[in-house]
Amino acid sequence: MNHDIGFIKDWIEPQSRVLDLGCGDGSLLISLQEQLDILGYGLEIDADSIRSCVARGVNVIEQDLNKGLKNFADHSFDTVLMTQTLQALRYPHLVLDEILRIGSRCIVTFPNFGNWRTRAYLNFRGRMPVTKQLAYQWFDTPNIHFFTYADFEALCKERNINILHRQFLANGFPDKLLKSPWPNLFTEIAVYHLSR
């Protein structure tokens, strides 16, 4: 993901406890540690990512999100982060409940399926979109749910999840210019700050 989500540091208290679900090589946690002196932990299952976290001094816990997060107590973190993972989970709505149980606040990011490129791909080619944000063939993709930011907000409403902040990201042209007037058409990545 080449979208800069550095702005989320404004949503996180200095020296707070942060859990990053699917932390990759730990880059985000390192930058939050450097800027906000947070106490961060990352969950990860990819061996190479884990190795690089360990080498860089990031607290990394080898644990599979899909097998539950019951080992984490209620409100044991100030912020739970989950970047570009929601669409790959078996039951996203249940995981949302879980992360809002563990974290007082949550930050989630996901690819917006409402972007005009995916719409056009499906409309005109009649094939499932393979784009920069969703770069897999339908039969072999980690992304098993496709939804737009409007779908996500409907889910939040239904499950009484408060949206504290939202930020729409787009790097491409003309997406970058047009995402403000027409967010669902031009947003590539949606970023939400949530609480319950």
Partner: protein, 392 residues
């Protein structure tokens, strides 16, 4: 087919080479957890690598139930390398080019340090079964006396597998300012009922040997070899996984066959292997030490004095932690390591947890494994970088 024999075939590269054990007579009295005071005690230990000028690069290796101070390298008259030679040496995960590594034989054991085979100065006879009961904290206190005699103020890391991991955790609570890192491998905050059950079966096996003589076999000039071999056979089964035993031995026969109409004796490979392991073990280990140390394992309960709350216990720790488990380890299962990790996270301590896929059961912590090596090596390499001022 012996697992241990595979050591002999390994590439000698990266070995610390010839090593010589050293002996320390600690003149300071050691008050044990049971209240008994050892006025003096002897510790046998080995060191590998060089202590740096600021004496900050020392690493303590804590052994488990049956091993000892000989963790790496070889003796001049014995080509079998130390028990953790896969992981200790120049360029290895515990890199002796960067760390000063200390392996010590703990009290109550039987490799030269004070234990049941030593002479009780009050009676002039071997302690035997009268050796005082020990707790993991007694090992920690005795290791601290060794640390002081080596003029080391703080360990860069205390590392151990199984019972060794218990010592590393105890170190972090008893002397939080005396270590920067604790590496806890295939360990647990306390044994399960099943663990204790297996230990008791092993102890019963030893005590049932007529040569045990209520633990005073040395005075009678006897050795309960059969009982100790049986105890080890039971233990050994619990250190391996069903899967690995199936792969290595299956139902292969060592002699005879199972064709009907034959009366020749039949022996499975696994029978022969286990008997060999048991006999080999009883030749070098002491039965009273086995009883003493298995009890020590049973008694260990990290959070007992912290209201049985592991989070409260770990809140006293000041070091960083690395926790490692192995998938097929059913003696100290990955869930036990996950519990340690969860408690450390809840206590706000720095911790990484690596769950290694391995078919080798509990023994995996002693055996070569690339991911294990990478995790341990990667973690310690950063520790060394920090000591050398290269990493923040």
């Amino acid at each position: 087919m012996s697992l241990e024999n595979s050591n002999d075939r390994r590439d000698p590269e990266g070995s610390v080479g010839h090593v010589t054990p050293q002996k320390l007579v600690v003149e300071q009295p050691l008050r044990l957890a049971c209240g008994i005071v050892l006025p003096t005690h002897t510790l046998v230990y080995e060191t590998y690598g060089t202590l740096n000028q600021s004496r900050s690069n020392a690493v303590l290796i804590c052994h488990a139930l049956s091993s000892n101070h000989h963790a790496a390298g070889v003796y001049e008259d014995d080509s079998k390398p130390g028990w953790w030679d896969h992981y200790i040496g120049p360029g290895k995960a515990i890199d002796t080019n960067r760390f000063f590594v200390v392996g010590v034989n703990n009290i109550g054991s039987c490799f030269g340090s004070t234990g049941p085979t030593s002479v009780n100065p009050e009676t002039g006879d071997p302690w035997g079964a009268n050796f005082p009961p020990l707790r993991a904290r007694d090992w920690v206190e005795s290791q601290k006396l060794l640390m002081e005699s080596l003029n080391i103020d703080c360990w860069a890391a205390v590392i151990g597998g199984s019972l060794g991991g218990m010592q590393a955790m105890r170190w972090s609570l008893e002397h939080p300012d005396k270590l920067l890192n604790a590496v806890v491998i295939a360990s647990s905050m306390k044994l399960t009922a099943q663990n204790i059950a297996f230990n008791e079966i092993a102890r019963r096996a030893i005590k049932s040997d007529p040569d045990f003589c209520d633990g005073h076999y040395l005075l009678e000039d006897k050795v309960p070899l059969r009982g100790l071999a049986l105890a080890r056979m039971i233990g050994h089964v619990t250190y391996l996984s069903d899967e690995l035993m199936g792969q290595k031995f299956g139902r292969d026969l060592r002699m005879g066959d199972l064709i009907q109409g034959k009366t020749d004796p039949v022996e499975f490979q696994i029978e022969s292997y286990l008997n060999y392991q048991g006999d080999k073990f009883s030749d070098f280990f002491d039965a009273n030490s086995y009883i003493l140390i298995t009890k020590m394992l049973d008694y260990f309960d990290l959070a007992r004095e912290y209201n049985h709350d592991p989070v409260a216990a770990f809140s006293h720790a000041m070091c960083n932690f690395l926790v490692i488990s192995f998938s097929s380890d059913w003696r100290f299962s990955p869930s036990r390591s996950q519990e340690i990790t969860d408690a450390l996270i809840a206590a706000g301590k720095s911790v990484s947890y690596i769950a290694i896929d391995s078919e080798h059961g509990h023994d995996a912590f002693l055996l070569p494994n690339q991911r294990y090596q990478d995790a341990l090596g990667g973690y310690l390499s950063r520790v060394a970088d920090q000591l050398e001022g290269v990493a923040p």
